[in-house]
Subunit: 449 residues, 2 copies
């Protein structure tokens, strides 16, 4: 296997296109795997994209469009001649087609749907939210009945030509279309040809409703090692199937979003280098300003203790250190709790247990850091009184930050807010202001100022 070298291929491709050697460019593109073709195409100008897609033919173009980021696929689709777009959409897996059509100008989407020979599978899919089970599923499925034999089922598999990847799990429904079992291709192959599917199938199938969140779908598929997850309506009628490749993308996207949110930025929905600078700045400036306003609380606290600061300027030397440590202890807790919530180690009903757990961790850490800070402050030629103040303050702040770091994500989760939103920056800002208050209150009492 040759590793995929985007830069090099892109240079080749651009050269061929500049010299108007479309055949060479097509040849380069066709020698690649679909995800690589998509990456390459995404880097080209719209004009070149249209030329290549038109020349490649609808089936190959459909595969590439399925791999492009949603926005890129929508932009390209809008730019294509309607007739070409129609032929391509007809070749796409219906869940991907519904996603793209949902992202483009409604008028263009309508004329594409109107021009298709067979658009009735796509219409209902467009009604579901993109991040729900209904939005992820494909309705191109092969369903079996209990009385079908293994041999007949294999025959049906042979005759079936879906636009999407082959599905290895086949679902069994009753006369009302209600999901009653699942059988995989391996079981069909190893069973005697005359054995009815009803005798082979597993009856207790894990299924989700169309409105189920995509993260929950991913969690179920990962936990129960499923390659396909059936989607049903409230009467348990089978509507479609989510396949593992859709869910791998969800897992990656969700991890990306979590990490970007923890860093205090709205998630980008484009590959990093192709995102515009203004767009990136726009996604970040809101949080930055909001946090600035919240953080200015620290100024109010400091001003409140102006006299103490005036008297002992050395108090100021420890300000960043104390609030930094509080912020660090808090984010350690928050990130642990967020992840425990995400993988299902704890749920909000166990909030009290989790809080108690973190408070005990906080007591231990606070004790350790308090002793450590006392020694550190003394070796820094600080007066014993100030060193004791700093030590007591750090103990209190660490316990407090651990408690706050546990409560915030649990509370967010209870209120159905994504817990990553309150992590990182929000958490530090809160700990900063309250930590200063704790510090100066202890200083006032301990130093008698």
């Amino acid at each position: 296997m040759k590793p995929f070298d985007l830069d090099n291929l892109l240079a080749q491709m651009r050269q061929a296109l500049e010299l108007n050697q479309l055949d060479d460019a097509i040849h380069t593109l066709e020698s690649l795997r679909t995800p690589d073709q998509a990456d390459l195409l995404a880097e080209l100008d719209e004009e070149d994209q249209i030329a290549l897609v038109t020349r490649l033919g609808p089936a190959a173009s459909a595969d590439i469009l399925e791999e492009l980021e949603d926005e890129e696929a929508a932009d390209l689709m809008e730019a294509l001649p309607t007739e070409t777009a129609i032929r391509i959409v007809e070749e796409m897996a219906d869940d991907e087609a519904a996603d793209v059509l949902g992202d483009i100008e409604p008028a263009i989407a309508r004329s594409i749907l109107a021009g298709m020979e067979d658009s009735e599978d796509i219409h209902p899919l467009m009604l579901h939210a993109e991040d729900s089970a209904g939005g992820l599923m494909t309705s191109e499925i092969l369903v079996l009945r209990r009385r079908t034999t293994a041999g007949e089922a294999l025959e049906a598999v042979r005759r079936w030509q879906p636009d999407s990847q082959p599905v290895y799990d086949l679902f069994v429904v009753d006369s009302q279309g209600r999901l009653s079992g699942v059988v995989n291709l391996h079981q069909l192959v190893v069973s005697p040809a005359d054995r009815p599917v009803g005798d082979i199938m597993e009856g207790d199938v894990i299924a989700v409703l169309t409105g189920t969140d995509q993260e929950e779908c991913a969690r179920l598929m990962s936990r129960y090692d499923l390659l396909a997850l059936p989607v049903v309506d409230c009467e348990h009628r089978l509507l479609g199937v989510i396949t593992i490749d859709d869910v791998m993308e969800v897992l990656e996207d969700e991890a990306t979003e979590d990490i970007q949110r923890m860093g205090g930025a709205l998630p980008l929905d484009q590959p990093y280098l192709s995102s515009r600078v203004l767009e990136v700045a726009r996604k970040r400036v809101g949080w930055l300003m909001l946090l600035f306003i919240t953080e200015s609380l620290t100024g109010t606290v400091l001003r409140h203790f102006e006299d103490q600061l005036q008297t002992v300027v050395a108090l100021a030397f420890f300000v960043p250190l104390l609030i930094g440590t509080g912020g660090n202890a808090g984010s350690q807790t928050t990130s642990t709790i967020i992840r425990a919530l995400a993988v299902g180690d704890i749920d909000t009903r166990e909030a009290a247990r989790a809080l108690w757990h973190e408070l005990r961790v906080g007591l231990l850490l606070g004790l350790g850091m308090g002793v450590f800070a006392f020694v550190r402050a003394l070796t820094w030629h600080t007066t014993p009184g100030l060193a004791a103040t700093v030590s007591m303050a750090i103990f209190t702040i660490v316990v407090w930050a651990n408690g706050l770091g546990a409560i915030l994500p649990l509370l967010a989760s209870k209120l159905r807010i994504d817990p990553t939103v309150v992590s990182g920056p929000v958490m530090s800002t809160l700990v900063d202001a309250t930590g200063l208050f704790i510090y100066f209150t202890i200083a006032r009492m301990a130093l008698g100022i």
Copy 2:
């Protein structure tokens, strides 16, 4: 499908075990899916675990042990009578067996291996690092030759009874055992029975070496929608296969590790509530102390500017605000870059482009925040001189933080350090000290103090 209610089932189970009704407990356990059985078993005392596992029989116990966290499985395995342990390991998928045996006391592992009828598949797997392709792969594979027909291949699938899940991708090797192609079960089913596998197979197979990192394996499988990834030696001989279920776990674990590391804590390898308080504290205290020492640099910087602070105490009011904003801008950048590196949007060779991108974002954000801070400071009854100082400082700090936030993870990645290590807390600490220096230097010049 009934949702899995751990608390309720656990209560039932404990009651049955207390009353010595082992049959009832076994009945409850057998009514569940394997991952749920594992969760339930993990919550019980070791004594009860042993009683249940002994009664369940080796095949069912092997399935459960495969689902347990590695440490939990190792603890249970060590506690079991050797004879029982041997029967269970014989029923486990060989990659999982190798993981468990690698985690238990070497003496016990040796006596288990010595007692097994068929341990030669496991031995070589134990030589690979657990987080490499060699550690993830199973060597229980069905290999085909080019001349095998589709019908013969299906017959081989029927006769084959692996301990692990069925594999839908079958690999084709030449007479030297070198990987030459891949064919999936669906293709075998739809092809005429007399068609040789060599005519059906896809020849250009994506494969990894035994030493390939598990994250890279996960990335490849996710990018190219693979259900199985072959592992080869340096002469391209097929050694084993990584299956999608192993990789889903890797993706989850890596996301967990990234998020915990970004929060400045070493990843826990146990479910949160079952981790001991002392253990959690131990995993965090190192970072906390290290960051404390680094952060005490801020004290050195402040002490350096003691005269300025003495003259204008109001300078101190803005300290937390300025370093907080710098930290926020920096972590926004770091989290974006880390994720772009992880999903392959950028690589280290594009470091300069990424840095330039971030610097431009920083200029925009710095300008916006500078104006905003100036207005905010004035409305806070600050003198115009101090407001201008704060405004200039914030502009400089934001640009600097964006640059640093881009360089640090890129540098770490270049040095083959996990970039999440330098994010969050490390990043903030660096920005804090340097930010203060910038602030007071500007203040000294602007206010002439």
